[in-house]
Amino acid sequence: MVKVKIDGVTIEVEPGTSVLAAAEKAGLRIPHLCVVKGIYEGASCRLCLVKTPTGRLFPACAYYVYRDEEFISDSLDLRIERKVNFEFILKFHRMECWLCPRKGNCLLAKLSKELAVEGTPVCAECPLSPEECLLTKGVPCLGPITLSGCDAECVESGGPCWGCRGPISRVDVLENAFSRYRELGIDTETILRKADIFWNSLPEFEVVKKVFNRVRTS
């Protein structure tokens, strides 16, 4: 048995255990995404970074301990690195959450809340399956163009999203959302007017309007 010290908590584990497994044993949460024990341990997502006292960074999922060692799993710089890396992940993620079968149970949405990254739309957290989606019933829901992080409370309690958390600023997501609205015959003017309630003075709203106008005319 070796002793791993993570954030001051000492955990006794078998030699060869990964830092992530040791942390989980102690109930410490290190954000991670790509690792699936026994299936993929390639350390690709770089979210589970931990720091040695000397300042070197290692992914907790692929660092195996064979002797007593100490790690820091949470600090400002680690948070920044994680955040940036997570933004990288979202950057090329095709976010058509409203059609995604994992909506409501989306790891990316959970992590973006945990790491305070603004990226996923409310749909990623929406508990309604794509078939139950309010949009398909013609309800003008702002979910597809609103930032997630609220656990989709409104949708959960039966109402459409009102856009409390502000607009998403990714152009591709907005474009996809626009075509989704149009596909389902929801008037995008209604959507914009509704969004105008809370986003009226937000500079990001101008982006939304611009994108919508561009897609409409093109």
């Binding site: 409104c154 309690s157 009102w162 309630i197």
Partner: protein, 427 residues
């Protein structure tokens, strides 16, 4: 303010929400208290002009994050009246439930926030240390009330559950039952705590009586009215809500962004103190006993807090029964529903019982869009009354030779006792 001359500024009276400055000026035996909300106006009535009537309630609910449901329901009610829509009965009941739950939870918090003033503690933290059992009981009651609220409304603030002539969230029988039981537990807990509270009860100023004892409540006959179609004043005048403007006049406060509402040119008050006095018959003796236990003097503005406590206990019982009754009547739960209506034109005034008193929303709708709106919040109604009562209080305190520091604290306590939710006065 050791002499007859001087002025005193109590900056940023801490309260539940928002800030208010109180200026006290005394000059040759005349004392002037100026209640001035420091918040900037948000022009809700103005910027909603031209908006589709369906949206209006959701925005109006944002006037206040503390009593959002009250604004929401009142607004929905006003829109419905204007458009002549009649929602189904269970929707109305659920609305009552949602709104009542908010009053319960809201007033509980108000009581908690004011208790330090009434127990001689400097703040809530020291209160929680000195009166641990009272504090934990009240917190527990608050938690249970929130729990019940969540069952019915889905989320705590700005609930999307309610809509114009619609109810969006399916409420199961189990949820109704749980909410009912939770509410009864809240009532029981509070009743149990009452005697402890009575022991600790030290009103900041005793024997102070209201210089302008006019109040306003909703008019109800048999039932504690959460909605009503007429207003009742303490001088016995009953006014249909549509005619509120004939008796209530809303003016801009000369020294701040707040508004005053005057009843025939006079200051009046509203809130739990008014309700307990007006509905003494409906409330019944059990609760009156509670009022005796706490030795509430309904003539003393400070004792609004005590009245709120009583109010909460009664409402918890009342809503608990309502929830259980609904659970009985709708064995399969209440499904989301909405009534079809055409977006027409019309004028509608709605008044509801809000945690702090009477709330009036008055809309003119043309072609499905809001043309004009007027909102009179309880804080607006109380604002002038606070000044009047404050002036009398300061005179009394100066007579008693209280120190400046004490006067400051007591005036702040007075403001808190009326209404801790100040942004409503500026909307």
């Amino acid at each position: 303010m050791s002499s007859q001359h001087g002025s005193l500024i109590i900056g940023e009276v801490p309260a539940v929400a928002g800030h208010v400055d109180v200026h006290v000026e005394s000059k040759e035996a005349t004392v002037r208290v100026k209640f001035s909300a420091t918040q900037d106006p948000r022009f809700f009535e103005r910027f909603l002009k031209g908006r589709p009537s369906v949206e209006v309630p959701y925005v109006m609910s944002r006037i206040c994050g503390v009593c959002s449901v009250v604004h929401l329901t009142c607004s929905i009610n006003a829109v419905e009246k204007a458009l002549g829509v009649e929602p189904s009965e269970e929707v109305l009941r659920l609305r009552e439930l949602a709104k009542g739950l908010e009053i319960v939870q809201n007033n509980l918090i108000h009581v908690l926030m004011s208790l330090p003033d009434f127990t001689g503690c400097s703040d809530v933290v020291s209160f929680s240390k000195m009166h641990q059992s009272i504090f934990s009981n009240l917190m527990e009651a608050n938690r249970l009330a929130l729990e019940a609220h969540k069952r019915i409304c889905g989320r705590f603030v700005h609930i999307p559950t309610l809509g114009v002539a619609a109810h969006n969230k399916p409420v199961s029988r189990y949820e109704l039952e749980t909410a009912g039981k939770l509410l009864h537990t809240v009532a029981r807990k509070l009743e149990e705590t009452a005697s402890d509270l009575a022991d600790a009860w030290r009103p900041p100023v005793e024997g102070f009586s209201d210089p302008a004892p006019t109040y306003c409540v909703l008019n109800g006959d048999e039932r504690y009215p959460l909605f009503s179609s007429s207003l009742l004043f303490s001088d016995g005048v009953t006014v249909p809500v549509e005619k509120y403007a004939t008796v209530i006049e809303e003016i801009r406060s000369p020294h701040s962004n707040a508004h005053y509402a005057l009843y025939r040119g006079r200051a009046f008050y509203t809130g739990s103190r008014a309700r307990i006095q007006a509905y003494s018959k409906i409330i019944g003796c059990e609760v009156s006993v509670l009022a005796k236990t706490l030795s509430i003097d309904f003539n003393n503005p400070f004792d609004n807090v005590g009245a709120q406590y009583v109010d909460v206990v009664y409402l918890s019982r009342f809503l608990g029964d309502l929830a259980l009754d609904l659970a009985d009547r709708f064995r399969g739960g209440i499904k989301p529903s909405h009534v079809e209506y055409s977006s027409g034109s019309g004028e509608g005034v709605a008044t509801v019982t809000a945690p702090r008193g009477v709330l009036i929303h008055h809309y003119v709708i043309r072609g499905g869009r809001l043309e004009s709106a007027n909102i009179i919040t309880p804080t607006v109604m109380n604002a002038r009354h606070i000044e009047v009562a404050g002036e009398a209080l300061v005179r009394k305190l100066v007579e008693r030779g209280e120190s400046e520091e004490n006067i400051k604290n007591i005036i702040a306590a007075l403001v808190r006792a009326y209404d801790p939710c100040l942004p409503c006065s500026v909307h």
